[in-house]
């Protein structure tokens, strides 16, 4: 739902990085998006197209998304398990004493420039 706001954040950070590196055009922005980040990748790329083409620096620039699977760790038995399939309760030992290890990332990984 808030993908457009996120896109504005990405553009701001990319602009800053481009300036620091004396880059005039960015061809690809690679994002790490966690599985439970609440971001819908298709919405993000749609918003990106609309907003990025308004910037000289980002005209035609592709937004590439590399998904990060959500993993939860159980303090009860010390094992990891996939979050989306099992939620907050550990499928190995039944303990609710668990926490999200990865999967909430909304991160700019790298920029590709020519």
């Amino acid at each position: 739902m808030h993908e457009l706001g996120i896109v504005f954040y990405i553009i701001r950070d990319v602009k800053q990085a481009a300036e620091e590196n004396n880059v005039e055009h960015v061809s690809t922005v690679v994002m790490n998006i966690g599985e439970v980040s609440t971001i819908v990748p298709e919405y993000l790329t749609d918003c990106w197209r609309w907003a990025a083409d308004k910037e000289e620096l980002l005209k035609g620039c592709e937004l590439k998304i590399e998904p990060i699977p959500a993993v939860t760790h159980c303090d009860g038995c010390g094992k990891d398990y996939p979050t989306v399939a099992h939620g907050k309760i550990c499928p190995h030992c039944g303990s609710p004493d668990t926490w999200l290890k990865q999967g909430r990332e909304v991160e700019i990984k790298e920029l590709l420039v020519r």
Partner: protein
């Protein structure tokens, strides 16, 4: 062929906002201004609850309200008419949430208002009524001291399961419209249980903004919070 160059960033897009929010909190602490971020779904009774709460507190502390909506200024006018406290409307320009920068601009807007000079005579409490939405506002730190949310009985007691992040980030959950409990399959105890699954420290306050039931408890919590912040 042109060579492709890679610039590694490894940077969270929320990082700048989180930093901005922390800075804003520090500035507010120095000025002795308590900022409450109030969130909920549309139609849960945020504005009515605020009017009731403000009317119980306005003789004790100086209060201002920032109303955030995508459009219109009906809420800001309603608050001003019903309580007499300073109230400004922020438009998010189509965005589904407020971030720390927009909040900062809103606070500066109060500062500019003719009624009171924020700088010389600061407010004790500023309440930010966030955009009606249970998803996006939870993602963005506004710089507020505390987050509160209102869940109303017709929305159902299963909302903490469906919108986990919102209930995880809130320090207080006000359950509104308890006067209609007999007409809905809303299980108050189940609701509390679900909220505490998300956030064991959350304070749950059942109220009815229409009749005023339970509002004293919420107002009391807020007053204690403001006094603590000023120390």
């Amino acid at each position: 062929m042109d060579e492709v160059k890679v610039i590694e960033l490894k940077k969270s897009v929320f990082e700048a906002n989180d930093r901005n929010a922390d800075n804003l909190r520090t500035e507010l602490k120095q000025r002795g201004v308590y900022l409450l971020n109030l969130m909920s779904a549309p139609g849960s009774g945020k504005t009515t609850t605020l009017i009731q709460t403000i009317n119980r507190l306005k003789d004790k502390i100086r209060i201002a309200v920032m109303e955030a909506d995508i459009d219109s200024d009906v809420d800001a006018i309603k608050i001003k008419e019903a309580t007499g406290v300073e109230s400004i409307q922020l438009h998010t320009g189509g965005m589904c949430h407020l971030d720390a920068e927009m909040t900062r601009q809103g606070l500066a807007g109060i500062q500019d208002s003719k009624i009171q000079k924020f700088k010389d005579e600061p407010y004790d409490l500023v309440i930010l009524e966030n955009v009606g939405n249970l998803v996006c506002p939870a993602e963005f730190d506004t710089g507020a001291v505390r987050n509160a949310m209102i869940l109303s009985v017709p929305e159902g007691h299963d909302k903490p399961l469906k919108y986990p992040l919102m209930f995880t980030v809130c320090d207080v959950v006000v359950i509104n419209k308890i006067d209609v409990l007999p007409y809905f399959d809303f299980d108050l105890e189940k609701c509390k249980e679900y909220i505490h699954m998300r956030n064991p420290k959350a304070i749950v306050i059942p109220v009815c903004a229409k009749t005023g039931e339970g509002i004293d408890q919420f107002a009391e919590w807020l007053l204690t919070e403001v006094k603590k912040w000023k120390k």
